[in-house]
């Protein structure tokens, strides 16, 4: 075999092994976790909220609900803020300001999640406890921290989507007598809506999967929250809190929690890819 062909084969193998890591991860998580789901029954596993792993009760219903609520809260806070920021930077601000702020915001995406969690504990949790009541460590605290954490992701992708809209669209709208705001609302925003939806979905993925910041501020109580001021435990926190000492069925249950998380994330990724590809 000549050298060129050989090199091509080697590179193909490298590419293949890169991808196979995803397959191997999937297999391992499912192999470790599925037996427990079979044993407990899928319905009991995801609908029951009775989690007492040492006594043989494995219900993660409350955690699924908590994960979804925390994510929803993060979206309610992060998406309007992020979108507003993206619209201002892409449509209203000067070129120079955008050139300065966009990379700055992207740099902020690199701040480790533990730092966000830490500041949440120091500043946000006491604020909630003193002014709104409850223990402070709460669904609300987790949602606010996650909302802030997803800002750089949402802003950066939304700006890219908005700047990809050709300027002729805007010029046409302005020439017809529309104001700048009407142009943004009726022309610039609808055109890249799929790009913006992708930004939101990727932000959601980040929020659902976030672990350390949530553990630090959410309070981690295993029950269905009755208000936003109640402490909650998410799917990710459940794994991280108990993996250190779990064994046997208990450990399997944590992998099964991982399966549920994995499925949620893959659905989000898949829809993001589908929406992007449609364009």
């Amino acid at each position: 075999m000549d050298k060129e062909k050989f090199i091509e084969r080697v590179l193909f193998l490298l590419a293949l092994s890169s991808i196979s890591s995803l397959v191997i991860i999937t297999i391992f998580i499912f192999v470790e976790g599925l037996p427990l789901i079979m044993h407990t029954g899928l319905k009991d596993f995801i609908l029951s909220s009775h989690w007492a792993p040492t006594k043989g009760f494995f219900g993660i219903g409350a955690m699924i609900v908590s994960s979804l609520l925390v994510t929803l809260g993060a979206m309610v806070l992060g998406v309007p803020l992020g979108l507003a920021c993206a619209i201002v930077l892409a449509e209203f601000s000067s070129e120079r300001l955008r050139r300065l702020l966009k990379p700055t915001l992207e740099l902020l995406a690199g701040i480790p999640s533990v730092v966000y969690g830490f500041l949440g504990v120091i500043w946000l949790v006491p604020l909630i406890r003193d002014h709104l009541g409850g223990p402070g460590l709460s669904l609300l605290a987790a949602a606010v921290i996650l909302g802030i954490m997803i800002l750089p992701t949402v802003i950066s992708i939304s700006i890219d989507a908005l700047t990809a809209v050709p300027d002729v669209y805007r010029d046409g709208s302005i020439a017809l007598g529309a104001t700048e705001w009407q142009t943004v609302r009726r022309v610039a925003l609808p055109a890249p809506s799929s790009g913006i939806i992708t930004a939101v979905i990727l932000g959601m993925g980040r929020a659902v999967g976030e672990t350390m910041a949530v553990i630090m501020v959410a309070g981690n109580a295993i029950k269905l929250p009755a208000s936003v001021l109640d402490p909650v435990r998410t799917l990710t926190s459940n794994i991280a809190l108990e993996l250190g000492y779990a064994a046997g069925r208990h450990r399997e249950a944590l992998f099964a929690t991982g399966i549920v998380l994995f499925v949620i994330i893959m659905i989000l990724n898949f829809s993001a890819t589908l929406i992007t590809r449609r364009r």
Binding site: I19, L22, I24, F118
Partner: protein, 280 residues
Amino acid sequence: MAWRLHPRITQGVAKTVLWTLTGLTLLILIFIIVNISVKGLPQVTLSFLSQDPQDMGRHGGIFSTIVATVYLTLLAIALASPLGVGTAIYLTEYTREGWATRIIRFGAECLAGVPSIILGLFGFVLFVMKLGFGWSIISGGLTLAIMVLPIIIRTSEEAIKAVPQEYRQVCYSLGLSQWQTITRIVLPSALPGITTGIMLSVGRSLGETAVLLFTAGAALRTPTSFFDSGRTMAVHFYILAREGISMPNAYGTAAILMFSILLINLVAYGLMQRLMRRYS
């Protein structure tokens, strides 16, 4: 007809609201940086950097955690770079756009979306338990490598694509083979971009906690072999903060962590900008 506000008034209101929200966003992010700097930087002294933690981190510095961080990051980069860059070369230079490239790219995207706690679970069951590496630098490094792989693939791909097609055509017309073209012309031209991917990966590894807690463990001793457990700066910071061991030391560690990541990302961004400007 329903009563409507004059479009110019609507615009005024909308712009005010949007600018206010933007200001608020920036304020939050500035607050984070300022707070960590003001409380953390005064803690950072030469002895803080050069002494090992004492009494679970209540006293002393963070030297052993710096060593563990460096080992883990280097190992992850050494493993992920050849794999990632090789994948990128294959995707850009050897295949036409088709089902194979689409599957590989989709796989890389999915891998990028896998939450770090899932990677932690995976690393724990495969490397720590099944392969018997225990909580160690090698288990942590292998898992981190998987985590940064998509970053390296994506940035290398972008960098290689940015190299103008003419460069390759000139090489072929001079009789160079494809591999010679890649190693002598394409890769050197794309190097700043590939370096960007590697630096972003370093930044990501520095800040990672969830993966390492369950693969590298949290031993405070300075690791001396690949099979020793090691506590990185991020894990150390997490434990200091969560268990309330020492707030000043937590702030100090956070400051070092945040500024090294910001600096690394800044350099990475600058390199990519230079590459893009050169070829656009």
